[in-house]
C-alpha cells in the first residue's frame, strides 16, 4: 500500500508551530525540508520511516519503564520530522542557558557555604532547609574549579505567546543525550540531501566535549587521568545511555562494587589489581553514592567515596548536593538568583510558578486546580503530577488533600499551550506538543550542545512528553549562521 504524506492538509489549530508561521507558511529554516517531503513519491516517507524503526530495533536503542508489566525495555519511539531552530533564536537560548547555569552554580556554592542569599532574605530559608534535596554532608565542600553542576539538561518550552520559557533545570543526572546523537544518525540516513543543504550544526562532538569536561576536573597532579562512568546497573532506566556514553568516550563503565577506597584514594578493581580512579562521571543519585555519608542501606555506592572527594583525591560530576537547585520550589527563585549573583536581567523567563508553601499561592492553587499543572517538588520523569484540565474531580480532590497535608512538597504552574511540530500519524501529519532539553557542559568554560533532545507527546492533545509516560523524540536541527559556524554533512553510507 502506498501513501502520500504531504503538508497540504496540515492544521495549526491555533497552536504555535515550530515549522510553520501563524499564516501557515514554512519558516525559513524549514522550507527546504517541507518542499522535499511534499515532493516525495507516494510511499517513500513510509519506506524511510520503517527503515528507521528497523534500525532502532537493530541498534537496541531502548529505555526502561519502571513498573510496566510488558517488560522493562522499550524501543525508543522516534518521529521522522525534525524540530528546526533558527540561528538567531538559538543564540538567544544559548546566552540564556549560560547565564542561568552560572547563577545556579553560584547559588549551590553559596547554599553549602556562607548562605548569603538566605541571610539577605532573597530566598526564604525555610524553603531551603525543608528541601529534601539539601545534603548535610555537602556543607563546606569545595568541588574542583568551584563548579558543582558540570552536566545540566534544562527543559525549555515555547508557549502560545511565541516566547521560550525554562520549565525545569535538571541538575542531578540528566539523561537523554544519547538519544540526541542516535536521532541525528538516523535523520542523516533518511534525508541526506536535505540535511546537508539545511546547514545543521553538529552534535556529534558531544562525547568529546564531555570527555574534556571530565578531564579538566582531575586532581591537579594527574596528567593522564583515569575517568570512569559509574552506573547503578542494568536495571536503571538509562542504562543504555550509560553504556553508550562510556563506549563513545572510551572510558570504563563501572558499578559501585567495581570500586573501592584504598589508602584514601578511589580504586577500580581490574585484572591487574587496583587502579586509581581520578574522575567519576556518576549516574547514580546522591543518596546511593556512599553508604557512609548518605543512605546507609545503599548497595550501589562506594563506602568512603565522599571522604576521598572531600580531600580532593577524586572528582565527581556532578558534585553531590546539586539537587538542591533542582527542587521545583527553589526553581521559582532562579530569576532572583540571576539578579542577586550576576546583577543581570534573566534572558530566559521562568514559567510563572505558585509555591504552595506560600499561603497566598496555596489558596490560589486550591481554588484553581482544574486549570493548573501541579507538580511534586522532588519528583522527576512526569511522576507525581496533576494536569488540571485533563484531570477528574476525584484526582483534584486527592491532590488538594496532599497539598494541604504537605504544602512544601508542591508547586503549580499555569497549563501552557506548548508549541507543536508536525508528526506522522498513520497516513498524514498532525501537530504534536514538544519540549526541548539542551545539554550544557561546564568545565573550563560553559558549552551548550546546539540542539538537544526534542521530546514529543505522541498522544493527541497530550502535554506530557516524558518517555516514561508515552512520549517520543525527534531530531533537533539548529541552523548554522551563514558563514562562521560549522555545519554537519551527511555522508552517504
Amino acid at each position: 500500500m502506498s501513501q502520500t504524506h504531504t503538508f497540504q492538509n496540515y492544521e495549526l489549530e491555533s497552536f504555535c508551530d515550530e515549522l510553520f508561521d501563524a499564516d501557515g507558511r514554512p519558516r525559513p529554516g524549514a522550507s527546504l525540508l517541507i518542499e522535499t517531503i511534499n515532493s516525495l513519491p507516494p510511499g517513500e516517507l513510509t519506506r524511510r520511516k520503517s527503515a528507521i524503526d528497523r534500525a532502532l530495533l537493530r541498534m537496541g536503542i531502548t529505555f526502561a519503564v519502571y513498573g510496566s508489566e510488558e517488560g522493562t525495555e522499550k524501543i525508543w519511539p522516534f518521529d521522522i520530522v525534525p524540530r528546526i531552530v533558527e540561528a538567531y533564536e538559538w543564540s538567544h537560548i544559548e546566552a540564556g542557558l549560560k547565564q542561568r547555569i552560572r547563577a545556579l552554580n553560584l547559588f549551590i556554592n553559596d547554599v553549602y557555604h556562607e548562605q548569603e542569599i538566605l541571610g539577605d532574605g532573597v530566598v526564604p530559608r525555610d524553603l531551603l532547609e525543608d528541601a529534601k534535596s539539601i545534603r548535610e554532608p555537602c556543607r563546606g565542600l569545595n568541588p574542583p574549579r568551584g563548579v558543582w553542576c558540570h552536566i545540566t539538561g534544562t527543559d525549555l518550552v515555547r508557549h502560545s505567546d511565541g516566547a521560550i520559557y525554562v520549565l525545569e533545570d535538571n541538575m542531578r543526572c540528566p539523561s537523554g543525550v544519547s538519544y540526541v546523537l542516535q536521532n541525528r544518525l538516523l535523520m542523516k540516513r533518511s534525508f541526506p540531501q536535505v540535511f546537508s543543504a539545511s546547514r545543521v550544526r553538529p552534535v556529534i562532538d558531544y562525547p568529546t566535549r564531555l570527555y574534556e569536561t571530565l578531564r579538566c576536573l582531575a586532581p591537579g597532579h594527574v596528567s593522564e587521568p583515569t575517568i570512569v562512568l559509574l552506573t547503578p546497573g542494568i536495571y536503571n532506566s538509562a542504562y543504555y545511555e550509560h553504556s553508550f556514553l562510556a563506549q563513545q568516550m572510551g572510558i570504563q563503565l563501572v558499578e559501585g562494587r567495581d570500586l573501592a577506597v584504598k589508602d584514601g584514594f578511589v580504586c577500580m578493581r581490574t585484572t591487574g589489581g587496583f587502579e586509581r580512579v581520578d574522575v567519576i562521571y556518576r549516574r547514580i543519585d546522591d543518596d546511593f553514592l556512599d553508604p557512609e555519608a548518605f543512605r546507609a542501606d545503599s548497595m550501589l555506592g562506594v563506602p568512603g567515596l565522599m571522604d576521598a572527594y572531600r580531600n580532593g583525591r577524586v572528582a565527581l560530576a556532578n558534585a553531590p548536593g546539586t539537587g538542591v537547585a533542582d527542587d521545583k520550589a527553589i526553581y521559582a527563585y532562579v530569576p532572583e538568583m540571576i539578579h542577586y549573583y550576576l546583577d543581570e536581567e534573566p534572558i530566559l523567563p521562568n514559567v510563572p510558578t505558585y509555591v504552595c508553601a506560600r499561603e497566598e499561592d496555596r489558596k490560589y492553587v486550591l481554588a484553581h486546580l482544574d486549570e493548573l499543572v501541579v507538580k511534586a517538588v522532588n519528583e522527576a520523569g512526569g511522576y507525581g503530577m496533576l494536569v488540571g484540565p485533563h484531570s477528574t474531580a476525584d484526582e483534584q480532590r486527592e491532590f488538594a488533600q496532599r497539598i494541604e497535608a504537605r504544602p512544601r512538597n508542591y508547586i503549580a504552574q499555569p497549563t501552557l499551550a506548548l508549541s507543536r511540530v508536525p508528526t506522522v500519524v498513520d497516513d498524514h501529519f498532525e501537530g504534536r506538543h514538544v519540549d526541548l532539553r539542551p545539554y550544557i557542559l561546564y568545565g573550563e568554560d560553559i558549552w551548550v550542545l546546539p540542539g538537544g533532545l526534542t521530546r514529543v507527546a505522541l498522544k493527541k492533545g497530550s502535554l506530557v512528553v516524558n518517555s516514561s509516560q508515552g512520549g517520543g523524540s525527534k531530531d533537533t536541527w539548529v541552523v548554522a549562521r551563514t558563514d562562521d559556524e560549522a555545519a554537519e554533512v551527511a555522508t552517504p553510507l
Binding site: 530559608r125 532547609e129 563546606g140 557512609e292 563506602p303
Partner: protein, 292 residues
C-alpha cells in the same frame, strides 16, 4: 570544674571484617563555657587513613579507614575538659518567649541566622500541631522563655517513662511521643519537636554526664553515660541554654557537650560501614572523672 573523660567503644565481630570506613564525633567542643584542654583518639587496629575536619556545625570529626582484616574494633577517646558554671539571670526576668521567636523569624536578633537553622524540620524531628499543643501548656503568652522551657523539661521528665526497651536508635520522634517512653535521645527529640513546633530554635546536643555516686559508695569507673540533651536559643543576650529532660535540670557543670546538630543523625558518636563481620557485639563504656 575539670574532668578527664574516657569513652571506649568496642565492636567484637564473629567473622573477620575486611574493610571499615568510619567517623567519630567524640571531641568535646570549645564553647563559651567549655574548654577542651587536651584530646586524644586511639583506634585499634591502627587505621591506614585518618583525617580530621570540622563539620558544618563546627563539631570535630575524625574519619578513618581500616583496610586490613580484623575481628575487633576499639575506639578510645580521652579528653581533659574544663566546664564553667552557667550564668543565668533569674528565670522570671528572661524575655517573653514570643519575642525570641519573632526576632529569629524576622531577622531582628543579631544571631538570628545560625539560630534559625534549628527552627525547621530535620530528618528525625518533624514539627507537628500535637507537639505545639503539648508545649503550649508551658509556653503561655508572654511567659519568660527560660522559665517556660524549664517547666516543659520538667513535664517531659514527669510524663515520660525512661525505658531502654521501648525504643531503638531509629524510633521516630512522634512514636516515642505517643508511647510516652524512651531514652535520653527520645526525650531530647520530643522536647526539640515541641520547641520547633512553636517556632523556637532548638538543637540536639550529645556529650557526657557526670554521675554522682550515692553517699558512702565509691565512684564506679566506666559507669557513666554517653548522654544527649538539647539546647534552646534564648536571644543573643543570654545565648543558648542547655536543658536535660532525662534528668529534669538546666545543665551547668555536670554536662560536657561534645557535638551538636539538628538531631541525633547529625552527631552520631560513631558511625560507619564495614564489610563482613557477621554477628557483632557492641560495648560502650564512659568514664567522667572529676579532677581537683
Amino acid at each position: 570544674m575539670q574532668y578527664k573523660i574516657t569513652h571506649t567503644t568496642t565492636y567484637q565481630y564473629a567473622d573477620p571484617v575486611s574493610v571499615c570506613h568510619s567517623r567519630v564525633m567524640m571531641t568535646p567542643r570549645n564553647d563559651s563555657r567549655t574548654r577542651c584542654e587536651s584530646h586524644r583518639i586511639k583506634i585499634q587496629p591502627t587505621p591506614q587513613v585518618v583525617e580530621r575536619r570540622e563539620d558544618y556545625f563546627g563539631n570535630l570529626v575524625h574519619c578513618f579507614s581500616i583496610e586490613e582484616s580484623h575481628r575487633q574494633l576499639k575506639v578510645t577517646a580521652t579528653s581533659r575538659v574544663t566546664v564553667e558554671a552557667l550564668q543565668l539571670p533569674p528565670l522570671p526576668e528572661t524575655p517573653p518567649w514570643e519575642t525570641i521567636r519573632d526576632a529569629v523569624a524576622n531577622a531582628a536578633d543579631a544571631d538570628w541566622f545560625p539560630a534559625s537553622l534549628t527552627t525547621f524540620d530535620s530528618p528525625r524531628v518533624l514539627r507537628d500541631a500535637t507537639f505545639a499543643e503539648y508545649a503550649a501548656e508551658s509556653f503561655s503568652p508572654a511567659r519568660p522563655i527560660v522559665e517556660a522551657a524549664a517547666e516543659l523539661t520538667e513535664r517531659i521528665n514527669h510524663d515520660f517513662t525512661y525505658d531502654t526497651t521501648a525504643t531503638t536508635v531509629a524510633t521516630p520522634t512522634d512514636e516515642a511521643f505517643q508511647m510516652r517512653k524512651g531514652v535520653c535521645q527520645d526525650f531530647a527529640h520530643v522536647q526539640i519537636a515541641c520547641l520547633r513546633s512553636l517556632g523556637l530554635p532548638a538543637r540536639y546536643v550529645s556529650g557526657y554526664l557526670r554521675t554522682i555516686p550515692p553517699p558512702g559508695e565509691p565512684r564506679k569507673i566506666g559507669a557513666d553515660e554517653s548522654h544527649a540533651w538539647l539546647s534552646i536559643f534564648c536571644g543573643s543576650e543570654i545565648g543558648w541554654v542547655d536543658v536535660d529532660p532525662t534528668n529534669n535540670c538546666i545543665c551547668t557543670t555536670d554536662h560536657v557537650p561534645s557535638a551538636w546538630g539538628r538531631d541525633y543523625g547529625d552527631v552520631t558518636p560513631l558511625k560507619g560501614v564495614f564489610l563482613g563481620g557477621g554477628q557483632h557485639e557492641l560495648t560502650v563504656s564512659v568514664d567522667v572523672e572529676p579532677l581537683e
